[in-house]
């Protein structure tokens, strides 16, 4: 009898984090939450975006982990912002007001570099290239 080869299909988990989930967290806690999920080999889709200093903190903490956490090579990330170029004055005003009030229109995608080889981004789309 021919033994059937056990082909295991490896799954990929994409975890969505609504902005409300990180809104009241301190910067350090936000970064820790993100990195905890990344270390679980998941791709994060975050509603909104991190502050510029949080982005650099994320890079710093990521670098501190490379070489210390087994098989961790770093992260790939991309932020997609809504373009306002083609919007009128009142639309832009409305958007800016919404931003002040805390609405998060941007989307941040973060993945572990061991799974995501590259995120090719242009203003309107992001192409996620996976590792074999």
């Amino acid at each position: 009898m021919v033994k059937k080869k056990n082909k295991k299909v490896k799954g990929l988990t994409i975890q969505f984090i609504p902005f409300a989930e990180i809104e009241n967290l301190e910067s350090g806690e936000r970064i820790r939450k993100i990195l905890d999920i990344i270390l679980g080999n998941k791709i994060i889709i975050l509603q909104g975006k991190l502050l510029p200093e949080e982005e650099t903190r994320l890079i710093e903490d990521t670098m501190a982990m490379v070489g210390h956490v087994k098989n961790f090579k770093g992260i790939e990330l991309a932020v997609l912002n809504p373009s306002l170029d083609d919007k009128g004055f009142f639309e832009k005003m409305k958007h800016n007001l919404a931003r002040v009030l805390g609405a998060q229109e941007a989307i941040t995608i973060i993945g572990p570099a061991s799974i995501v080889r590259e995120m090719k981004r242009n203003p309107k789309k992001v192409e996620i290239l996976m590792n074999k």
């Binding site: 502050l51 510029p52 200093e53 982005e55 650099t56 890079i59 710093e60 990521t62 670098m63 501190a64 490379v66 070489g67 090579k73 770093g74 992260i75 790939e76 990330l77 991309a78 932020v79 570099a113 995120m119 090719k120 981004r121 242009n122 203003p123």
Partner: protein, 212 residues
């Protein structure tokens, strides 16, 4: 927040003692964009000495290197700079990538370890800059998140920025794409390797220094 306050205080004090000040000019960007090549060209032009080694292997610069009292003269005006060349900022470092350049495993691992520390150091030095030149490889996609993160941080810290699109000597170079990606910033195209368009670069540099 502490960084922003520290930067603000630093700026107030530097404003009081303005005049004979040396401008700390940082060179930031992703790995292999040509930061050291450009810093070398400037240092060689004005001091006769280079600042660091360049290589085709990414992360050749793994520690912050600087040259003080670099006096640059342009159209009769003189400015003194502290040139600060920083390691390339990356979000991932894999030692196996270095092995593709025929580095032995041990050497590749050592390079990766130093490179990760280099990224952390480069970010830490951001607070000490009066002005920054963001060096991008004009043959590559400018929309990479690292570029956006660097520029976003400079804006948040109120540090004046000049974007340099390097490697314009290469056929794949697309300076218009760099300009389109960062329409709010001055972009100057150069070839640090061959010294192409350096006149325009120095003109932009002096404009940048005025904002520092």
């Amino acid at each position: 927040m502490i960084r922003i306050i520290r930067n603000f205080v630093k700026r107030i004090f530097s404003g009081i003692f303005k005049g004979k000040k040396e401008i700390s000019l940082g060179f930031y960007g992703p790995p292999n964009a040509g930061k050291t090549s450009l810093a070398n060209r400037i240092c060689k032009d004005w001091t006769g000495e280079e600042i660091g080694q360049v290589s085709k292997i990414p992360h050749e610069t793994r520690s912050v290197q600087f040259k003080e009292k670099v006096e640059i003269e342009y159209k009769g005006k003189k400015l003194t700079f502290k040139i600060v060349d920083t390691p390339g900022i990356a979000t991932k470092i894999d030692y196996e990538d270095f092995m593709k350049f025929k580095l032995k495993k041990k050497d590749a691992q050592k390079r990766a370890k130093e490179a990760t520390q280099g990224v952390v150091d480069a970010i830490k030095w951001l607070d000490d800059m009066d002005a920054v030149i963001v060096v991008l490889d004009s043959t590559k996609n400018p929309y990479s998140q690292v570029n956006i993160t660097i520029i976003g941080n400079l804006v948040a810290r109120k540090i004046p920025v000049l974007i340099v699109g390097n490697k314009i000597d290469l056929r794949k170079s697309d300076l218009k794409r760099v300009e389109a990606a960062f329409p709010e910033y001055e972009v100057v195209g150069i070839s640090a390797k061959y010294g192409k368009n350096m006149e325009e670069f120095y003109e932009s540099l002096f404009r940048l220094a005025k904002k520092a």
